[in-house]
Structures are given as C-alpha cells and as structure tokens.
Symmetry: C2
Subunit: 346 residues, 2 copies
Amino acid sequence: MVSIDEVARAAGVSSATVSRALSGRGHVSPATRQKVLQVADELGYVVSSAASSLASGRTRNIGVMLPDLHRWFFSTVLTGISEELSRRGYDLTLYNVTDDAQVRQEIFSSFLRRRRVDGLIVVAMELDADEIDQLTGLGIPVLTLGGSNPRLPGRAIDDHGVAHLAVEHLLRLGHRRIGRIGAEASFNRDFHVPARRENGFRDALAEAGLSADRQLCVTADFTVEGGHRAAKSVLGRSTSAPTAVVAFSDEMAIGALLAARDLGLEVPGDVSVIGIDGHDLGPLFGLTTVDQHPLGQGGRAAREILELIEGTEALPTDDADADLPYDLVVRSSTSAPRIESVSAPH
Amino acid sequence: MVSIDEVARAAGVSSATVSRALSGRGHVSPATRQKVLQVADELGYVVSSAASSLASGRTRNIGVMLPDLHRWFFSTVLTGISEELSRRGYDLTLYNVTDDAQVRQEIFSSFLRRRRVDGLIVVAMELDADEIDQLTGLGIPVLTLGGSNPRLPGRAIDDHGVAHLAVEHLLRLGHRRIGRIGAEASFNRDFHVPARRENGFRDALAEAGLSADRQLCVTADFTVEGGHRAAKSVLGRSTSAPTAVVAFSDEMAIGALLAARDLGLEVPGDVSVIGIDGHDLGPLFGLTTVDQHPLGQGGRAAREILELIEGTEALPTDDADADLPYDLVVRSSTSAPRIESVSAPH
DNA sequence: CTTCATACTGGAAGCGCTTGCAGTGAGATG
DNA sequence: CATCTCACTGCAAGCGCTTCCAGTATGAAG
C-alpha cells in the first residue's frame, strides 16, 4: 500500500503539500496540485481512512440506522441514501436494529460510540429518552427520517395529512363505509406514525360527518402477509363489509388486494383499496396510493446530513421544518362504490 | 469523549494494560482486568476505531458489496450478514453497486482502497478481470457469495442442481410442456447464475427425453414485474401453452402467479408454477419453490469471512468447496397437469 | 526602495491507540 | 540458596495522516 510520503517523494514536495493538494484544504499552487494529483493517480494512492480520521477527526462515513431491511420502504430509503453518499465520496455504515433488545442496546452503547461516523441518519425508529441522550452525546449531527422526535432534528411526511388525503379521495368517490388497516405499536418502530395516520383517518371521516366503525378497523404489521390477513377479516364480513379500505402501507394494501381476490371480490367494483408509500409494484397491481417518494427522502436526508457536517453556512432553518412532499396517485384500485351502497334509502 | 489514558489513570494502570485488558490480547492478571473493565464501563469508554485501526491495522469492519438492495434475495442475505456481524461486534460498510458504470468504477478504485474494512463479501456480482485484480490487491480476505469465481474463494448453491430439481419436480408430476422464465445477462449481476440454471433446466428435460421449447423460454429481470410480463407472453399463447413454468427467482414466480390470474388461468389446475429462492411471501402465495435459505447464506458468509480474518487455525478447506444447501418446498402452486395434457394420443 | 500583505511550502507535533521490548517479582527447579 | 521461567506490567515507538506555525518569495502599496 502506497503512503503519502511516497507520493510526496515522487512529486518532489512535502507530505503536507500532498495532503493539502488532495484534500483541497489550504493553499497549493495550481502547478503543484496538478503534479501531485497526477503522481497520486499513477501510484494509485488512496488516503488511509484510519490515519486521516485520527488526524482530522473526520471519517467521511455516515451511519444509517433502521429497524428492518425487509420492508420495502426502508430498503428504498437506504438505496436513496446510499446513492447520494457514494456520489459525494462518503461511505455508509449500516446499523440494522433487530427486535433483539440486547443487540439494540449494544448498538447504542458500543457500536455508535466508536466514532466511526461523522453523522447519523435514523430512519423511522422510536427512541426512548436514554437512547436520545446517547445519540446527542455522540457529538455528531443526527437526523431522523420518518419518525419525528422533538429533541432531534429530522424530516417526516405529514402523516396526518397523508391519511387524510387517502380518505378524502375515497369520500370524494362516494364511499361512506371505509375500513382501515392500521398498524400495531412495535418495540422498534415509530409508533407515532400509525397513530398520526389514525388521526388523519378519523378526522377526514369526521369532517364528512362520519365516524370510524371499530369493526372495520384492524391492525397489521406493515407487511403484505399482515395486510392480507387483516383484509380477510374485514372484507370477509357477511354483513356490512366496507366499500373501501385504506391501508397504512402499500405492502398491506397489496395484501388487501390479494385478500379481495381470494374472497372473490372485485377491485374496485366490490371494494376500493388505497395504500400509502409509492411501492414499486403499485403500477403492476393498479394500486391507488399516496406516494411519499422514499427514494427521494433518502437522497434528501443524505444531502442534509452532509450539509450539517460540511456546511459552511448555517442550516437553512426556514426550510428545516418543511414537511416532505407526498402525492395522490390514482390507479385502478379505487372507484366509486356500486350504486346501491352510495346512499341507503330511508 | 473519554480516552484510554483517562481509563488508565482511573484504574491506576498504564494505557498499555488497559488496551490489553479490553482487547484480550496479551497477559493481564484477572484482578487487573476486572478493575479495568469496571472503570471503563463506569467512564463509558469505547475505543476509537480510527486510533485502534491505525495502530493495529484491524478495523473490526466488514464490507458488503451487492448490486441491488431492492431484490428480496439481496436484502435478505444482507440481513443475515448484518445480524451475524453485529453479534460478533463487527461493523458493516455497505457498497451498493448501481448500474452507473462510473459509480462502480469509483467503488473499486477509491472506496475499497481506503482500508476501511478487514474483509469483503461480494454478493452475486459479475466481476471482470480488472476488478478481481483490484480486489485481490486489497490484501484482505474477499469472499464471494452466489456468484462463484475461479479466482476468488466463495460459496454458491449448485445452480445447475437447483434448476434441475425444480424441473424434476414438474416432470415427476407428469408435466411435459414446461416453460421457463430465465434472466437476461446484466451488466452488474452474475450472468453465470442464469446460465447455469438454464443448463440444469435443459439437462433435466433431456434426461426425460424432452427438449426445451424455445417459444416457452423467455427472460426477465428477476423482479415481480418482469416475471409478470414474461409469464403473460408465455401463458397467453393461444396454442400449445405450457402446463408448467419454472421461474429462476421467486419474485418472477410470483409475477407469473399474478399473470396466470390475470389471464384467467387456475394455478395449479391450468398451469403449475415453481420458483427458486425461498421468498417470505411463498407461503402466502402457496408458491412451490427451491429454497436456498438466503438468510442462512448471509450468516454463514459472515462467519466464514471472520474465520478468514481472525482464524487461528487454517480454514477448514475440506468444507470450503461444499455447495450451499437447498430444498424443494412443495406448496400449492404445482400439481399434476390436467389429464388431457399428460399424454397426447396418436 | 521599504514595508506589508499574501500565496505557497515544509517542519514537526500530535491524533489515540497497539505492541515490541525490557524490567520486575513470584513460583518452580535443582 | 541460586537459577530459571514466566506471568504481568510499563515505557515508548510508531501507525499514516492533518494542520499549526514559521519561513520564503512575490507583488502591491506607500
């Protein structure tokens, strides 16, 4: 492995100058820089991250903490983060927090404290007070994504608004009996997300003079299987089945679509289904959804954490509280309910 | 941030002894070790990875390179690796290689050369000679998974055998017109995998005195959507449609299942479908598959790379060439073909 | 021509650990 | 009792960079 001294010797300068030429910090004459760059390239010199980190305190590495690689949303956000970071020359260290409490504990008390990262992006995790203390005690920028926490800066979509929009869409189509596939509170994941969506769901109904029918509201675990199971119980009702269902994730919505088929129900004829996320498979299933652009969220989070780290100027705080964008994408899984359901004659 | 010297002072020993007590290298009396451990814990001391790496040459960090986080197989393997590594106190740096040739080039020529990792696991990637040179030039253990390469040690399933087993299953059920959803060669991914499965497919047919019908063999991109599209073209044939289809991934098989439904075909009545992988959603779809246990593959790869790095004994080479295990899992997507197809009267 | 500011460069002091080496003391051996 | 062995410990030299500081040269300003 070639060291900075070899480059310095070959270029006829000091190692200090090589360091400055390569990092862009400090003054180096154009000619010298040119020469150093060329020599470094010829020799295949790449700075040792350990030595550089130790001397400078910078690691050029970002940590990403998330609760479950298997959910589409997380792997998509991670992809977005990863692409942006590699474009900017940063490495990515993954902290995949499992349901094992001891592993989780270990991540907070040991892994993160090795000073391996310059910044941390925490995706959709519910953190307790101790954990937040540990994160703030790290002395590095921490950004949350999709799980807002008053003590930590971060971005999230307006979960209330997202659910509200989904329900609104169904109401506008004329639905009045609307089911809901929500989510259970989970040890690892942010339980505020389902709670806020729940409120959006209820408020939208309330504004239309309706109230949520407890029997049409079930919970699942954000997965296709969970959504399938939950939908079966709601849609399989012999009496007063809903004419539409809103699922709090696209994966659950897809599960609901499959459940409807299994039950011999036509979508959207017998029942409309709307999800939240913007899943890749949405087009294939014709799924109407509220797209929250997870890939873009990841890229944006990456850009913002780098801004926090490298930013010469102060953070654009005016922009800092802006909610992330989301859009209703109408496909073929929603339509007006069959005429007999629209208004019950009295 | 507390340093090793502070721990040393508080414990009344030298920093050398603290280092030895915490790392377990060298001799430390039980009493001293006890004391150091206790003090370190009280002070919340965690070793600085940069300083430790620079001094020792070890990083306690493993790199994982894979071509696409979105495919179920990769995120599952990654989960398996991640769990095992965190259990062993290792960090994980992710190299998510995109289709962008420049990004890929950059990963090989810069990112990997920062000496940030003690070992590298390369999952299902096709590497050219230059890239392999660059990997071997890293001076660290490199392990491939699911994309065997003669110049790099690694594990893979017997792809020929896997496809052979899938076809065998269909043949045993009495199928004779068997379609195939294979995969296109891709810039990033290992194109030997589809090629070997193709051979397994053909050989199994040949052993039954059959040959592959070109018109029933299509390719896709390993995704649900791709499988859906491909299956539509094969199953939608007005004449001589296959009675069974083998897909080279479960995601494509699921796509095929959906396509069959869209076409009004019953599975397995009108057409049997079998996949390869062991996808989480297999049970939900009743998908018959050849399970290759990706989670276990990840864990095993992690264990092996650590063995390569820390291993006191030589690698158990007798075991080194063993293929990874796989199993036929029969569910409800395969059955005997309808009687009229079994043997055409002449 | 002198004075100053400024661009550029090199020397050298760390960054916070690990580990080779040497020293100490205690138990084992003859 | 002398000698040896060996577990234990501390000292100090790095690991390969970054960056402060000081020194030189150059051009501008007075």
